[in-house]
């Protein structure tokens, strides 16, 4: 970030969570010049330089800042939905210190100049690290590969067609094969397009509501085909959101076979099921659609098992005009930057995962997957941190979100966990 405060910052008397060392215990962090200069139980009030600003965390959690690997922003082109500045404020409020920006802008992020625009964008209004994901195909049209090598050099951390699958088998094959030269990561939206023209999950509820629907097989078929292309090409493929029991089974087998496949999920798929769209609630209209309860349970089990590599927010801001419509006409997507942490913490409070495991899925593992510098507590690491109270009860209030768009399916949802401070490169960007 632009200007780290000259004065050192010390977070003491905290519960440190460091997924890299697997450490969950008392300690503190001393920050100077945008980096961590001391981390661990030895960082106490007694050990600090006199000039330091001391924050007594009173036993609250200090963890690496969250790395959110799936964020749709809207700048350039859809600034009425979200700008880089408003997204970064939402991120800071949610304890997210790095966002990976999806290429679905207007124009599409498919050229060196646009990748540089996102990667180099700085300023006092950009509170967190923003790294670009580039389009996998020019104009996201699924036909022609983008300049994978040049875009990687310009700062693209991965390649994706965003909300749509790269559906042409030959195109995906070529991208994965060519991309291997640069060790490029391809991020796939896993839904077979010709089977995904519906607006919700297939089943009894869709039948009752009279809505067109997608079979869970649409996801499975795309994933199974793509696994074969990975097998043939050796390219790295990440399925952005895996949402069904059957899909998770085939990913388990592909990983066991040693293929370079990873997968992620976003909180709605482990916190909600298809019943959230009852009464035609368009804020719960997502792609892929929210699934049946047994699929939700399979996602939770896969998180426990470690099969799912990362949790991202899938933040997709939509203005009221795009959502206050008959269900089939409304846009897909939900905001998520500010609900990522509290909703993910349900996995901890419900006893499915340890706090360390939840934080690992939100920090170290996305950092490793996308090869980002954050996601760890270590001397000389960038001082990207979050301080949060893991236990305080908070009811999510859509109106209080910092995001320009308020389309959350979690409005009124009771959670536990509140971000108290977010630090990016040593600068305090949020205090709550």
């Amino acid at each position: 970030m632009s200007s780290a405060p000259a004065r050192p910052l010390a977070l003491i008397n905290a519960r440190l969570i460091d997924p890299t060392l697997g450490y969950d215990g008392p300690g503190g962090v001393l920050i100077a010049d945008g980096r961590m200069v001391a981390v661990g139980p030895q960082v106490t009030a007694a050990s600090l330089p006199a000039t330091a600003r001391i924050v007594d965390c009173a036993g609250k959690v200090v963890a690496p800042g969250l790395i959110d690997s799936r964020v749709f922003i809207g700048e350039p082109g859809f600034e009425h939905k979200e700008t880089l500045a408003s997204a970064s404020q939402a991120a800071a409020a949610g304890g997210v210190t790095t966002i990976v920006a999806m290429p679905n802008t207007k124009p599409v992020v498919d050229s060196v100049s646009l990748v540089e625009y996102i990667a180099r964008r700085r300023g006092d209004d950009i509170l967190v690290n923003v790294v670009p994901m580039a389009a996998a195909t020019k104009g996201l049209d699924g036909q022609e590969m983008t300049e994978v090598g040049l875009l990687s050099a310009a700062g693209a951390v991965a390649f994706s067609d965003g909300r749509s699958a790269i559906s042409d088998a030959n195109v995906l094959w070529k991208i994965l094969r060519y991309g291997r030269m640069f060790d490029a990561l391809v991020v796939q939206h896993a839904e077979e397009p010709s089977l995904s023209k519906g607006v919700m999950n297939a089943g009894e509820l869709a039948t009752r509501l009279g809505l067109s629907s997608n079979s869970p097989y649409a996801e499975l078929i795309q994933i199974e085909r793509d696994i074969r292309i990975v097998e043939a090409t050796g390219g790295r493929l990440h399925f952005a959101q895996v949402t069904t029991a059957k899909s998770l089974d085939v990913i388990r087998a592909a990983k066991a076979a040693g293929l370079p496949i990873t997968c992620g999920v976003t909180p709605p798929y482990f916190a909600l099921n298809e019943l959230a769209v009852s009464d035609y609630r368009t804020f719960a209209k997502l792609s892929p659609p929210l699934r049946a309860e047994q699929d939700r349970l399979a996602v939770v089990a896969a998180l426990q098992e470690g099969l799912i590599d990362v949790i991202a927010s899938g933040h997709d801001p939509q203005d009221p005009e795009s959502k206050r419509l008959p269900f089939a006409q409304a846009e897909f997507g939900a905001v998520g930057l500010e609900t990522l942490l509290p909703v993910s913490l349900e996995l901890y409070h419900n006893g499915h995962l340890s706090l360390l495991q939840v934080i690992d899925l939100l920090t170290r593992r996305p950092a490793n997957l996308f090869r980002l510098p954050g996601g760890r507590l270590a001397v000389d690491a960038p001082a990207d941190l979050v301080v949060f109270d893991a236990d305080v009860a908070v009811r999510i209030d859509a109106d209080k979100l910092k995001s320009k768009s308020k389309n959350t399916p979690f409005d009124g949802h009771p959670t536990q966990g509140r971000v108290m401070m977010t630090v990016v490169a040593g600068r305090v960007v949020h205090e709550g």
Binding site: A202, E204, R208, L209, G210, S215, P326, F327, A328
Partner: protein
Amino acid sequence: MTPTHGSSTPAPTSPPGGDGRGFFHKHLLGIEGLNPLEIGYLLEIADTYVEQNRRANKKKSLLKGMTLINLFFETSTRTRTSFELAGKRLGCDVINMQTDASSIKKGETLLDTAITLNAMHPDILVVRHSESGAVKLLSEKVDGCVINAGDGRHEHPTQALLDALTIRRRKGRIEGLTVAICGDILHSRVARSNIHLLTTMGARVRVVAPPTLLPAAVERLGVEVFHDMRRGLENCDIVMMLRLQQERMRGSYLPSVREFFHFYGLDHAKLSAAKPDALIMHPGPMNRGVEIDTVVADDIHRSAIQEQVEMGVAVRMACLDVLTRKVRETELKNGGAS
């Protein structure tokens, strides 16, 4: 599953009369969620209007001074005319708006339209829309009562009520009858409303269709599924045909009209599997030679298709009467309306 989207407003706690009979929802958005007493009550009131409609003087001044807007976002002749007639026979002012041609093309949203119309204080809005859930969305923004005249493939409650009235008058009951609903179940709001109504009233409901025209998990709605039409019609009391929309031929739902008629068109051969006195119904407009053979459709001994149209007006009068009761009683108490 909690069917909260059937009729959105909960019934008030203290019904007038004290015997618990009546219909106390503000809107009629769907059949799902209604109980047998409520349905029975609507049918009883409708019965009285059948008699009135057969007299030379068909008009009552029950809804005098009230305004009904027929707001149709999808073209319709039958349903719109039926509501128009129902409104006029009860003495209310009826305005027809076929809006696919006007404001919607100018980019006005459904909710803008709702708010604009609401400012004109209609007492009743009868709404048809091509999207499931659109009528419910609109109902949240208006003060008057809303009747769903068909939303997407979701519900068409007055059609199910008029079908029930037809069945009840012909067969004397609904409970215990076996009803086969045949054809394009997947895209049919008529099928959904009828399934909800008939199962609620204790009929045994079968759906007869090729797998590509059945929605997922349809058996969870309490119906038996048949792909073979003759077996599906065996011992049926009622054969309810649905209209097959020609555009379904393009979506890989069916190979051809000819093949559909061969397997699912209602002709005398297939009909012979049903009870000898089985009644044939169709919501109209019919595609003769597609889902129904002309000879069968015109068989006055078997076909109730004309009667369905007649019952339609009576049922809609009953709905208008019942839904406006609370407003009319309040005005009477306050000495407002005559």
